[in-house]
Chain length 218, copies 2
């Protein structure tokens, strides 16, 4: 096992109470006290710190998109990826036969943030979050989230009390391994339709929804 | 509309930036800036503050039970109830024809905590949470949560890699309006069984699971 000081350096937090970090790095298969309660705490801390950061970074973004961004940042895959950058597995205490899965890594990362919170307070945890999540935060593209035209369209129809849009495949082209799809999006209540195409059904539907959104906002 | 100072008093937080509170109390049906982004922020703030409080109050409680407690405290019904105690609806700005539903109240309460967080920082929001959630926090009974014997049993079986317990009704007694049930809980892998009874199927199953847990821990 690598020395915890190295992890402290990567996190940008020097623990006053080193036992907290040790506990955060102890999977229950390795004995007590384990990191499960700290994981519970860290989950809350991360949710708050990530919300604060997104709220400040994207002052024009609507609640729905902020919520989706946060979900992306705190889901297991993202946490396991960050745990990977920190090389968490070299610091982890896990029972001899227990596999170090993405879920074990993600939980330990949450526990580490719970430990920083107890050791240094909310602001210390937030600073460490911004440091660890930095690259992932930088990679967030709000326009990318805007691309979810189907969701937007559905929300608009729902708010108007109109029937939800319908999608239907108009044509498929090409051989199976390079198929492209043409999809029509219909909003019967408004008598509007738009078509879109793409290399997957999902992309073609998004394109069609985008086209329809364009007609709506005219 | 009641004066916001009254709400500040109830919350135990005097805003430096009164516009934040006004925004938190503005439903989107009443115009912009509305409270939706603050609601996103407040959801994170509440999740963290409630986690911190439960972690400290129940030092022996396992992660699973803490998670269930938190879910109880921040679900819409609980938030709407607290909003009721604060008489939030008398402070709310809502469009003329828009109904003040439990969901509108719960969202506004979250937004208020987001506003306190921005105005006074995490600790101010935590203090206001403890004050507003006080009665609900006091009413939490960890032994009540312990009663969920079915969940406990299932978790134990799952951790052991054993087959999940089975439940079957052995007998029903009494007239329909005062029915009582007798249920058997079986763990085939361990050759264990226990029976329980109660005025609902759910209660009888819990009793049976409790009996089986007793046999397991002997």
């Amino acid at each position: 096992m690598a020395r915890p000081e190295v992890l402290e350096q990567r996190l940008g937090h020097r623990f006053t109470n080193a036992a907290l970090l040790a506990q955060a790095l102890t999977h229950r298969s390795a004995g007590a006290p384990d990191n499960e309660r700290l994981e519970f705490l860290g989950d809350g801390v991360l949710g708050c710190a990530v919300a604060e950061e997104l709220y400040a970074r994207f002052p024009r973004l609507a609640e729905g998109r902020l919520t989706r961004m946060r979900a992306r940042l705190v889901r297991e895959e993202a946490l396991a990826e960050i745990a990977g950058h920190l090389e968490m597995k070299t610091f982890l205490r896990v029972g001899a036969k227990h596999p170090i899965t993405p879920s074990v890594l993600a939980d330990a990362l949450e526990a580490v943030f719970g430990a920083i919170f107890l050791d240094g307070g909310y602001d210390a945890a937030r600073r460490a979050m911004v440091r660890a999540f930095g690259p992932l935060l930088e990679s967030l593209d709000p326009s990318d989230l805007e691309k979810d035209a189907k969701t937007q369209l559905q929300e608009i129809m729902h708010a108007r009390g109109s029937k939800l849009p319908e999608y239907r495949v108009v044509a498929t082209h090409g051989a199976p391994h390079q198929r492209s799809f043409e999809v029509e999006c219909l909003v019967p209540d408004l008598g509007l339709a738009a078509t879109g195409s793409g290399s997957s059904l999902q992309r073609a539907e998004q394109q069609a929804a985008k086209g329809l959104l364009g007609k709506l906002t005219k």
